[in-house]
Symmetry: C2
Subunit: 366 residues, 2 copies
């Protein structure tokens, strides 16, 4: 218990970044090991030490066509039709919205047998989880995913508590949602989640949201393991890499898109971090950032409902911080256009100029 406490305290002030992180998504994938999950943390990627990582990632993502071709080959080798990945361009950035093979979209539950670890967690959509039109709020959906990930990580012996006993902590680095439909208040839904592979630094976890066996939304996430002692991301420990992954297609295929700072500002909001924004381990909850993005995005009084959301967590805000939430919509000539196809988001902390988060949202043409 004493070590746990110490670990929690240390983790609050964690800064730093991986130093030997040239192998990112798009390089060698080791699908035979590791399972991510656990509670969400943020992690600073802003110090000079991670410049090489960023250059490496930029290179691997610059070759986006190669990534898509590789993804197609992979899909064909599994018997899926090629060309499942579409691109959505906006503001000069790539925001991919690939579609899964037919075995994931619209399938009946249990139709595809899954080998390896998988968790199914049921939720009843409560009225307090719903928007004015009674559909599930996106931030609450993220709550559901995080809850399922935490329970699965615990069941696999990879809970945050276990990692902290070993001197580590889980850090959510990326979350990407593709939303085809949303359940309504009073309905029962199931979140399926599974560990989806591991690289040197990253553990992958995927999600499906199902209602009556039909897929409503898909998500993928990427997690780092932080050394509490060295205060930076480290190579995944063997006890993490040693866990099996589920043998099923990724919920969302293809490489992650490159997210960049908004190049103009359509709207910005200052927010103060409140105690109610903090998660069970005392950090700003990842879902709070999602709520801030959607609050800033909403043109009217109602929460915004994007069809896709892709968030890169870069550093954490602390209780009492003032943060600036920026949105870039439309075009440089007409950036007052609300609900343009793609919007870009950034959250900064004005006191030190640090970028806490970059994100993109995609909206259905109205």
């Amino acid at each position: 218990m004493g070590r746990d406490r110490q670990g929690t305290g240390a983790a609050r002030h964690l800064r730093g970044a991986p130093r030997r992180g040239r192998r990112t998504q798009g390089t060698r994938r080791d699908r035979s090991s590791a399972g991510p999950g656990g509670r969400a943390r943020h992690h600073g990627l802003g110090c000079p030490g991670d410049e090489r990582l960023r250059r490496g990632r930029a290179r691997s993502l610059a070759s986006g066509d190669e990534g898509l071709a590789r993804q197609d080959r992979l899909r064909r080798s599994r018997g899926h039709p090629p060309g499942g990945a579409h691109r959505w361009a906006g503001g000069g950035h790539l925001f991919q919205a690939p579609h899964p093979g037919p075995c994931l979209l619209g399938r009946a539950r249990g139709e595809v047998p899954v080998k390896g670890p998988l968790l199914r967690e049921g939720f009843r959509v409560r009225s307090y989880d719903a928007r004015p039109d009674a559909s599930l709020r996106i931030d609450r959906l993220c709550d559901y995913l995080q809850e399922a990930a935490g329970r699965h990580a615990q069941a696999m012996g990879l809970s945050m508590e276990r990692l902290m006993r070993e001197g580590y902590a889980w850090v959510l680095e990326r979350l990407h949602l593709e939303i085809d439909g949303l359940p309504r208040a009073g309905e029962e839904v199931v979140v399926e989640t599974w560990p989806a592979g591991a690289e040197r630094l990253f553990a992958h976890r995927d999600f499906l949201l199902l209602r009556d066996g039909q897929v409503l939304a898909r998500a993928r996430s990427r997690w780092l393991v932080l050394s509490l002692e060295r205060r930076r991301a480290v190579r995944l420990p063997d006890f993490v890499r040693g866990h099996p992954v589920a043998e099923r297609p990724r919920a969302i295929g293809g490489p992650y898109a490159r997210l960049a700072e908004p190049t103009w500002t359509s709207r910005e909001q200052l927010r103060t971090v409140r105690p109610s924004d903090l998660d069970p381990v005392g950090h700003v909850n990842n879902v709070a950032y999602v709520r801030w993005i959607l609050d800033a995005l909403a043109a009217g009084a109602e929460p915004a409902v994007p069809a896709a959301l892709d968030v890169a967590f870069r550093a954490e805000a602390r209780g009492g911080d003032t943060v600036c939430v920026r949105v870039q919509e439309g075009t440089p000539a007409n950036h007052a256009v609300a609900h343009h196809a793609v919007a870009h988001h950034a959250i900064h902390r004005p006191s030190d100029g640090r970028t806490l988060l970059l994100a993109a949202t995609r909206h259905r043409p109205s």
Copy 2:
């Protein structure tokens, strides 16, 4: 559907107050009829027309001793020991924390048969409902209560939708919680709720929060019915009064305490109403106000955990409003003392000076 929409739109701008409201709690109680519940609304009590109501209520509450004596007589007539009600004085205001009879506190589930309508709604405490110490957050507890009330009102044919079809809307006017303990993340709890009586203007609904059959928290609430056409609270319609109430002791006995404006300000915070603060019908959710109070109360980074909370809802905030949340703690000489026994709260809207809410919280001596 068309009428519903219209009703919702009209309700957003509802103002006004009951005109013939001299019979308040402490006057004649009709326990043979009416069932409150449904979604939460706010209601303006600030216009000149309700001055008589406030005077009437002040008179009935000024005779607090009579109220307590009457409560004792009632308890004795039901076979409960007298003297269950204690008072907590702070800042010159009365904040009563009565204890229930032995049949409610610490009883096993099902021990006391209940006649009349009662709803039991189960909840699993999710990690996103929890504080850093893993105990249930108070604002999430209020979410649970509101969810149970809404489901019960619907089951009784008194849902917000039904009322709106008849040209009315439910308005939560008062919520009082007494908290003996809180469940932890991962635990299963049950909320029991029942209609607890009706007066001319008010419908009462009570709640228990149970874990393994043991009572952890008790709550009572008071609801008004608003006429959408006349834009003010009206005498409870016959179809509301005609419903039976549960024959069980009140979860919290005695008259409601008088809540007054803080007489000094220990701390104040400005907040902007965000889309995520709005409830399914597009108003600021009652629970959002509770969250704002607890955020302003928290001395450190962690959400505050009062042992009791008593909130009087007076008028509603709208999306985009800036509101000022004030806390009065300690004494006039030393009001920096955090977590003094009783704190008093008010939420105002600076743009028109309107008082949206008054509240008191009680804390266990640390």
